[in-house]
């Protein structure tokens, strides 16, 4: 194929890829979720693992809001409302647990918290 044909074709494909629709939001949401999951598996620090969990939760809310907007209903938005509330409560409890753990063991690195091993 000559470059005179392929270049406009590539531009059209790029424009099609750059067009924002529901799927763009879903891809972004999936990517954010995967990054959060990667962080949960990768990191050793309990606090950073917890931040990555929050990232996964937020990625799910992006998908919910996008579905809600593109289908013209309010239910997704209300769901995100509830998720925000539950996440706030969850963070408070989780961090309290981490502080209690640190007071008892003097560490929050997951590789040192192996009391159940063997």
């Amino acid at each position: 194929m000559s470059p005179f044909v392929s270049l406009p074709l590539a531009l059209v494909c790029a424009a099609d890829f750059l067009r924002v629709d529901l799927n763009s939001y879903l891809y972004l949401s999936a990517l954010l979720f995967a990054i959060g999951f990667f962080g949960v598996l990768l990191r050793k620090n309990t606090l950073v693992i917890y931040m990555c969990l929050e990232l996964m939760l937020v990625a799910a809310t992006v998908a919910l809001v996008a579905f809600s907007r593109y289908n013209g209903t309010m239910d997704g938005n209300v769901f995100v409302f509830f998720i925000l509330t539950v996440a706030a409560a969850e963070v408070a409890v989780g961090l309290a647990i981490i502080v209690a753990l640190f007071r008892r063991r003097q560490t929050i690195q997951v590789e040192e918290l192996n009391a159940l091993k063997n």
């Binding site: 799927n23 879903l26 990768l42 593109y70 013209g72 938005n77 961090l95 309290a96």
Partner: protein, 171 residues
């Protein structure tokens, strides 16, 4: 214009999410999370969910990240000379995340999800009235349950952070 803004916010969000995962310093991770959540609030604005954007900034970027930073300062654990991650965990994590990404991508592409055209009827994601009508009719029971959950969480945090003089008292 809104397409450009979407790409701007998407790149910002993903870059900062990677910053959360890969930063060695926990404080820098928390600040990356802050910027990431701000980008997500921008995406909510593009999706006409103005109330949720404001709530995300208040609750997540305000309260949650502040709490994280407070705990990081309180525990004062700057990793020291320990490596933040090992080579095997990088391989395992990247493989798992790649598999998850591939699965979701094939679900979206092969599943032939017809991307619906933007709903023409304004659903009023900005007006509190629309939220209130749903929250006090269809979702009245979940509202009550979430309120109770918040109470339980508060009590739980108080019990968890209380110092018991001698543990035999509670056994």
């Amino acid at each position: 214009m809104s397409d450009t803004l979407f790409h701007l916010f998407a790149v910002l969000t993903v870059a900062c999410a990677l910053g959360v995962v890969l930063n060695k310093n926990a404080v820098a991770s928390a600040l990356c999370l802050l910027v990431c959540l701000t980008g997500i609030a921008g995406l909510f604005v593009l999706l006409d969910a103005f109330l949720l954007a404001v709530l995300t900034v208040f609750v997540y970027a305000g309260a949650v990240v502040a709490l994280f930073l407070f705990i990081i300062m309180l525990l004062d654990m700057q990793g020291g000379n320990r490596k933040p991650f090992t080579k095997s965990s990088i391989v395992a994590g990247a493989a798992a995340a790649g598999l998850l990404c591939t699965g979701l991508y094939s679900f979206l592409v092969r599943g032939h999800i017809e991307s619906p055209v933007l709903a023409t009827t304004k659903v009023g994601g900005s007006s509190l009235r629309a939220y209130a009508e749903l929250l006090f009719t269809t979702y009245l029971l979940p509202v009550q349950i979430v309120g109770f959950l918040l109470l339980i969480a508060m009590l739980g945090v108080i019990v968890l952070s209380k110092k018991f003089e001698n543990l035999e008292d509670i056994k």
